[in-house]
């Protein structure tokens, strides 16, 4: 049989007919259309049971309640917790994006030991046993040398059982050098101790106030408990509350306020005293309070009347005298006036005098512990552990002076001065710690003059970081003993920033630890047991959870159910009993402030001929500027007037741009006494001529590729200014110059 062309064609036609009569083409068509809709890179969320866990966010000091939505064991979304007393069901951008910290690439997944030079990024993975042994050995050696005060510990918070455990560890070890944070919150607490004698926290009852006078506080830019502030802001029209924002630039808060009062940067304290001048001279103040419950009013009055006349204050602040008088009148005659302080987000403490001036203004109108006023909350007293037994070495070590000088006669009201701690080391004026423990804080990014902080860190022979992330400070460590993140651990969150009732939030694990990390509390307890002397005896708990349950006692059950504990019916003491100063009165000038508290303006560093402009940092709710950097979701919403690719924008007035022949989006060189960087120009009418504003929270060198290398860290360019009255960092900006790139 010959196969010719015809038979081949016949075979083909038969094949085609047969194919058409078979399901092959029709099925393939269907399948290929499905295939084109199911690309392998399109994620398909796993199915499972929906669950919710109530917890408390610890990404900022706000203490918001969160509800984590889970599918089976996997957390998939962070939502606001309905009915939560602080956040009222809301959640901020950082909180929503919080899950990215859980799975993100910057997590430290196992204990690490440095093998290369510091900052080189060469690590070797070690076991927990080896990591703890090495730390314990170093600690034992230091103590055996009779030098326990050579140990220093830096922590991100001062409240709750975790810092309490760390402080206890430091005490029984024999070191006074527990260095907590120093932000606007700590400045408010210092002012409260100085003026009211109250050892506690300052609450601002914004929900009930009807006239809020904000001295540069970024109520919508992350100040205090951000979600609580959003809630208050968004429904203030219903309560007919007026918000006046005093701000050196048109911040988001200023733009959304009822009135924006532009002011020369760094002079907010002067304006507060200028307003006080008008209130006193016109006798608008609450005489019932001032006459019967305050002390030092006469000298305060004299000082204010002589040094802070409206004309003089107008000259310093740039706010016209008639506006100062008008603000004073409105503030004094409002039903429930409230003055708020803490510049921007309140990351920096500022001069003590600024906080004292605002507290004095509140006192003048008699709103201390009044509805819609300042609430003085005693330090939460649920942590009442028996005093630890101290051995000889510890008893001697603990009496040594602190490296940062906090609590000394000169800086009596400061608890911790992290900036001063590093500045003193760098300047060779303080002993260098032999061992430094760092937890929940990232001083190499958040403190002013990062170069000096780096130089100081370089001198410390042994640094142990407990960071969950490879942040800037962890990169410089010798050992990293990674902590769980907030979604994996138990923790109590007490005294949230600016809240007005005794409150403890409960952070609890919503997911099993993803990596080979350990709870800091467990590590401290374990480490205590490995040290010689009496140290182990101070930690009589099996683990941190046992310690937390034991400490919270009867509150535990309710907190597990509700997610928090709050004393709803807390009876605020009245004016005759609330002050615990020596006189039992509110001291306008502070009780034992060493330097003149009313020396209110700290001049920006640098000389005006070389540096004609002034650089000020500004905070934005879209940029996390604390120890934790922006997660990728938040990087996606940073505006293109803030960051484009790796270039950061600075805001300047078009007039300044004309003077320096700069145009919008152009590259420029920004120089300050601390350094020089390349920036892009953003022309902004909302900033006064002569100022340059730079966003905070950018310029990370650590974390992941989504964040590192983007923009500039403003703290590289600004140096700290030591406040004579408190030791706090009083810097609010620095002199600068701009030139074409």
């Amino acid at each position: 049989m010959k196969i010719d062309r015809r038979s081949f064609l016949a075979f083909s036609v038969g094949g085609a007919a047969g194919t058409a009569l078979s399901p092959l083409p029709w099925k393939l068509t269907d399948d290929s259309s499905i295939w084109s809709q199911r690309w392998p890179w399109v994620p398909i969320p796993a199915d499972g049971g929906i669950g919710h866990v109530r917890s408390t966010c610890t990404l900022c000091p706000g203490g918001c309640g969160i509800t984590v939505r889970k599918i089976d064991d996997r957390p998939v979304k962070i939502e606001g917790q309905e009915g939560h007393p602080i956040s009222q069901g809301g959640v901020c951008l950082l909180g929503t994006a919080g899950l990215q910290f859980l799975y993100g690439p910057s997590r430290v997944r196992t204990p690490l030991k440095r093998t290369g030079d510091r900052g080189q990024g060469r690590w070797t993975q070690i076991s927990w046993e080896a990591a703890l042994n090495e730390t314990a050995e170093k600690l034992n050696t230091l103590r055996a040398d009779g030098h326990p005060q050579g140990l220093a510990c830096m922590a991100g918070t001062d409240h709750g059982t975790l810092p309490a455990l760390l402080k206890r560890f430091m005490t029984v070890y024999g070191s006074p050098n527990f260095i907590g944070p120093a932000s606007a919150k700590e400045a408010q607490e210092a002012a409260l101790r100085a003026m009211a004698g109250v050892d506690g926290t300052v609450g601002f009852e914004v929900e009930k106030a009807d006239f809020i006078l904000s001295f540069g506080s970024g109520l919508l830019d992350g100040w205090g408990s951000p979600v609580r502030m959003f809630e208050t802001f968004s429904n203030r029209q219903d309560r007919k509350t007026l918000v006046v924002q005093i701000d050196s630039r048109l911040s988001n808060t200023a733009a959304k306020s009822d009135r924006w009062v532009p002011i020369n940067p760094g002079t907010e304290g002067n304006l507060a005293l200028g307003i006080a001048h008008h209130i006193i001279s016109e006798s608008f103040y609450n005489t019932g309070f001032v006459d019967n419950f305050s002390g030092g009013f006469d000298s305060f009055k004299q000082k204010v009347l002589s040094d802070f006349s409206p004309a003089k204050v107008a000259d310093i602040t740039g706010v016209p005298a008639d506006i100062i008088s008008e603000l004073a009148l409105k503030f004094a005659t409002a039903h429930r006036p409230l003055a708020i302080c803490g510049r921007g987000r309140g990351n920096a403490p500022g001069a003590l005098s600024e906080t004292m001036a605002v507290l004095a203004l509140n006192a003048l109108v008699g709103n201390l512990n009044a509805d819609g006023g300042i609430r003085m909350l005693p330090t939460p007293n649920y942590i009442s552990w028996p005093d630890p037994e101290m051995d000889q070495i510890a008893s001697e070590g603990i009496t040594q002076p602190r490296m940062d000088g906090a609590g000394s006669e000169q800086y009596i009201y400061a608890r911790s001065l992290p900036n001063r701690f590093f500045q003193q080391i760098e300047a060779g004026q303080s002993q260098v710690p032999e061992i430094l423990l760092v937890t929940d804080t990232n001083p190499l990014f958040t403190l002013r003059d990062t170069k000096a902080v780096k130089a100081a860190l370089d001198q410390v022979p042994f640094i142990v970081s407990f960071s969950s992330f490879m942040d800037e400070t962890a990169q410089q460590a010798d050992l990293i003993l990674p902590d769980h993140i907030f979604l994996e651990r138990f923790q109590d969150v007490s005294a949230p920033a600016g809240f007005t009732r005794p409150f403890i939030g409960l952070t609890r694990p919503v997911v099993a630890p993803q990596y080979n990390t350990r709870h800091l509390g467990d590590v401290i307890i374990a480490l205590g047991g490995q040290l010689e002397g009496m140290i182990g005896k101070a930690f009589g708990w099996e683990n941190y959870l046992a310690c937390l349950k034991d400490t919270l006692g009867g509150k535990w059950e309710g907190m597990i159910e509700k997610g928090f504990w709050m004393d709803d019916h807390f009876a605020f003491p009245s004016w005759d009993t609330m002050f615990t100063t020596a006189t039992g009165r509110f001291e306008f000038n502070g009780e034992k402030v060493a330097a003149d508290p009313w020396n209110a303006t700290a001049a920006a560093e640098g000389d005006s001929s070389t540096f004609p402009l002034i650089l000020v940092p500004y905070d934005s709710i879209r940029l996390a500027s604390g120890s934790i950097g922006n997660p990728p979701f938040m990087m996606k919403i940073v505006a293109d007037t803030v960051l484009v690719k790796n270039d950061i924008f600075v805001q300047i007035n078009p007039e300044t741009a004309r003077e320096y022949q700069l145009s919008d989006r152009q590259l420029a060189i920004l120089t300050t006494p601390k350094g020089e960087v390349t920036v892009r120009i953003h022309l902004f009418e909302g900033i006064m001529p002569g100022l340059v504003a730079m966003p905070t929270g950018l310029g990370h060198t650590a974390f992941d590729d989504f964040l590192a290398g983007k923009g500039v860290n403003v703290n590289e360019l600004i140096g700290p200014l030591e406040d004579a009255a408190s030791g706090f960092d009083a810097a609010w900006g620095i002199r600068a110059k701009l030139a074409k790139a």
């Binding site: 038969g14 009569l21 399948d31 809709q37 929906i50």
Partner: protein, 227 residues
């Protein structure tokens, strides 16, 4: 067949000079080749294609439905149940197995394998789900079981009466289970459970006069299932 010896002028010309006999031969040949082609492609399409299209996967653990249904009190719903929030837990988790299988029960190899590999290691069994619908389909078991009072067999067939788990056949192109298209490669369904493609859903919805628009969006057609 074309044999040169049968033709008078074999070398001079081609087909125009062919005799009627050779023409009829040639026609038969063409038809034969046509039938060959037809048959070959039919075999390819109906027999070979399905075996090439699907890969056969064994379930991680064999499971005897008959044995378990006899042991449990609540039939299918003992292991495949609606959660309190109305979502459906189709794939039993280890938690429900461990109630009885904390240690090895019986002597089968599969049981020993299950306990050592999953129970002791606390690993979920990665069951392959025959009726897994793609992510773009919104399907509510509650609407069908509670509202429409349908039973499991209507859609899932008699799997509850099996003593061994059948192979999971995965479409190599789409990644879907073969049960979605149906065992019949032509997509012909004899029973309601033979096919779970969109047309099977739509036919029943039309036949049963189910609401033809989405409750949430009030949009008709696609939006009933594709939210």
């Amino acid at each position: 067949m074309s044999n040169p010896s049968d033709t008078t002028q074999p070398e001079k010309s081609g087909s125009p000079a062919a005799t009627p006999e050779t023409e009829s031969n040639g026609g038969a040949v063409v038809i034969l080749f046509f039938i060959f082609g037809l048959a070959a492609s039919m075999v390819l399409g109906w027999v070979i294609f399905p075996t090439l299209l699907y890969s056969k996967k064994k379930q991680p653990v064999d499971f005897n439905h008959v044995l378990h249904v006899a042991e449990v009190e609540n039939g299918c719903q003992s292991c495949h149940f609606l959660r309190e929030d109305g979502t459906f837990s189709g794939r039993p988790t280890l938690e429900s197995c461990v109630t009885c299988h904390e240690s090895v029960l019986g002597v089968t190899e599969e049981e020993a394998h299950f306990v050592s590999q999953y129970v002791e290691k606390n690993r979920e069994v990665p069951w392959l789900v025959y009726s897994e619908q793609p992510d773009c389909v919104f399907f509510s078991h509650a609407a069908h079981i509670i509202n429409a009072k349908m039973d499991c067999v209507t859609c899932h067939g008699h799997i509850g009466e099996s003593e061994h788990l059948p192979f999971y056949e995965e479409n190599r192109i789409t990644g879907y289970s073969r049960n979605i298209w149906g065992k019949n490669i032509a997509g012909i369904a004899r029973n309601t459970w033979d096919r779970m493609k969109m047309d099977a859903c739509a036919d029943c919805h039309i036949r049963e006069n189910v609401r033809q628009s989405s409750i949430q969006t009030e949009k008709g057609g696609c939006f009933v299932c594709h939210k």
